[in-house]
């Protein structure tokens, strides 16, 4: 996704790929690990914004977690938010600027642990915002600890023998939880482990933004994403794990649409 640059001179490398065609995605190197899904998801969000010609209306809310400096990669108005308060910040922005397109970009720690109250109540109020929820089942930024979405048996820095359902409880299915709320108007789970799934993810993100533009209310897209570093896998193994393990527990597809 990035244009290769000479690290000393900062000039484009001779053999670099063609420049980006997204206006909303800055042409800079990112800090994500090899095989991480964030780079793809950033690009999908930006492509959707460009295709809808809403870059000048968009206000993004960046989370605490691996995507904490997403504003270094996005070329539109962005604010940070305290950990998990992301939907509350987005609510405040949208209420005073209803004509802007407001979205949050949150990881599973931000949204499904520390910010559970904020996401449930933003959805329940039917806030006309869009949420991009990146579920990779670990806390990447802090060293691979267990997330609420960590699968049973999965080894993390804080579940060294694997997540025990008796000890640590069950992985949270946030989208299924939110879809019982009348305020949630659109909830779809997608993945970015293959070209086919990436295209589906793009369509879902586009749809979620369109829902907001039409004033339909709360829309959320959960993206199953790879974390090869803290899954202890190669990027290809991590992509395979999404298909073979993660998506069998977190089923892909539209959970709710109205």
């Amino acid at each position: 996704m990035k244009k290769l640059r000479n690290r000393q001179t900062g000039k484009p490398a001779n053999n670099g790929p063609a420049p980006l065609c997204s206006h909303s995605l800055r042409d800079v190197e990112n800090h994500y690990c090899a095989g991480c899904g964030h780079g793809i998801i950033h690009r999908l969000v930006c492509e959707a914004i460009d295709e809808l010609s809403i870059r000048e209306r968009v206000i993004g809310v960046a989370p605490v977690g691996c995507a904490v400096i997403a504003y270094d990669y996005w070329d539109f108005d962005v604010t940070e938010a305290a950990h998990g308060r992301t939907p509350a910040v987005a609510t405040g922005i949208k209420r005073v600027r209803p004509n802007n397109i407001v979205f949050t970009y949150q990881g599973d720690g931000d949204l499904a642990a520390i910010g559970t109250a904020e996401i449930i109540h933003a959805a329940n109020r039917g806030e006309n915002i869009t949420v991009v929820f990146v579920n990779n089942g670990v806390y990447g930024m802090t060293g691979g600890q267990m997330a609420p979405t960590t699968l049973a048996g999965q080894k993390t820095a804080t579940t060294i023998h694997g997540r025990s359902l008796r000890r640590e409880g069950y992985p949270l299915k946030i989208l299924e939880m939110l879809s019982v709320l009348p305020g949630t108007k659109y909830a779809e789970r997608v993945a970015v482990n293959s070209a086919h799934e990436v295209l589906r993810a793009k369509r879902a993100i586009l749809k979620a933004f369109k829902m907001q533009m039409e004033g339909k209310g709360f829309s959320i897209v959960e993206v199953l994403s790879m974390c090869p570093t803290y899954w202890g896998m190669t990027p290809i193994q991590a992509a395979d794990r999404i298909k073979n393990e993660v998506a069998t527990f977190y089923p892909l597809g539209v959970i709710k649409s109205c």
Partner: protein, 349 residues
Amino acid sequence: MTKKLLMCGNEACGEGAILAGCKFYAGYPITPQNELTAYMAKRMYETGGSFIQAESELAAVNMVFGAAAAGARAMTSSSSPGVSLKQEGISYLAACEIPAVIVNMQRGGPGLGNIGPSQADYFQAVKGGGHGDYRLIVLAPASAQEMLDLTFLAFDLADKYRTPSFILGDGLLGQMMEPITIPSKLQPKEYQKPWALTGCKGRKPNILRSLLLGDGALEEHNKKLQLKFAAIKDAEVHCQCFNTKDADIIIVAYGSVARISKAAMEAARAKGIKVGLIRPITLWPFPEKIIEAAARTAKKFLVVEMSAGQMVEDVRLAVGDKAKVSFYGRMGGGVPDDKEILREIETLI
């Protein structure tokens, strides 16, 4: 035309916010500030602003963060235990330089405490409260009228300096009903907010952040914040002095207690005891120079608070060894009356 109304302090605070052009309020129920939340629910509806009863104090302050980040004048309020929850958001507001107003109608603590009036959150309001090096502009009203006037001022100061400002009241002030005068030509100042998130049409994108990972970047940001706080300290000290010139004993008290202390001062004067009163209106910046100057002539200071002794530390710093500083305090919802304070004065003679 000037309007006269009968209002409780909580409602007066809300009206001050409305007059200042507040367009967003988020709050959560807690006694003794519930009249303010209810008043904002009504007045936001009437004036076309947004009111949200948030799921928590954390959410409320972060909604205010969002609304203020988008350029609107925004406010949240609570009482002591709820304000503890807001500290995270307050630190972020200060760090991201987002102007907003936070109100604390203090109640007895620590813990859940009780719903009686208190001034035990002075340290929290004035010394930081949340994490990191920051200051809040802290205003301490002493009447329902000032709940209105100082809330109006708090919005101006917040916008002027791009920083959160804070109203430190107490349950007594919030509940007490008094006549309020609303001046006819009260117009809020308009501040340009080129930093606000409004969509990047026709300009470069705006980013609001407090995470600065670059080598030395956060230290530079902190230096910039400290310069701003220094400018506030130079320009925004507000204070009232009564009978301090010939006073042997000077009472220092703020908020409700300053009013009670004034009655004690007058009773002492009637008995021929030369007592004065210094009432800080801004608790930060603190009127340390005024207190220091008074300490050159007064022999003794008596600090009265509804706490175990918090502001007294700042008075001691200002007075130094120029005079003796005594303290009288009530805690846990206890309110001193003028006779108690007079007795304390008499023990100092």
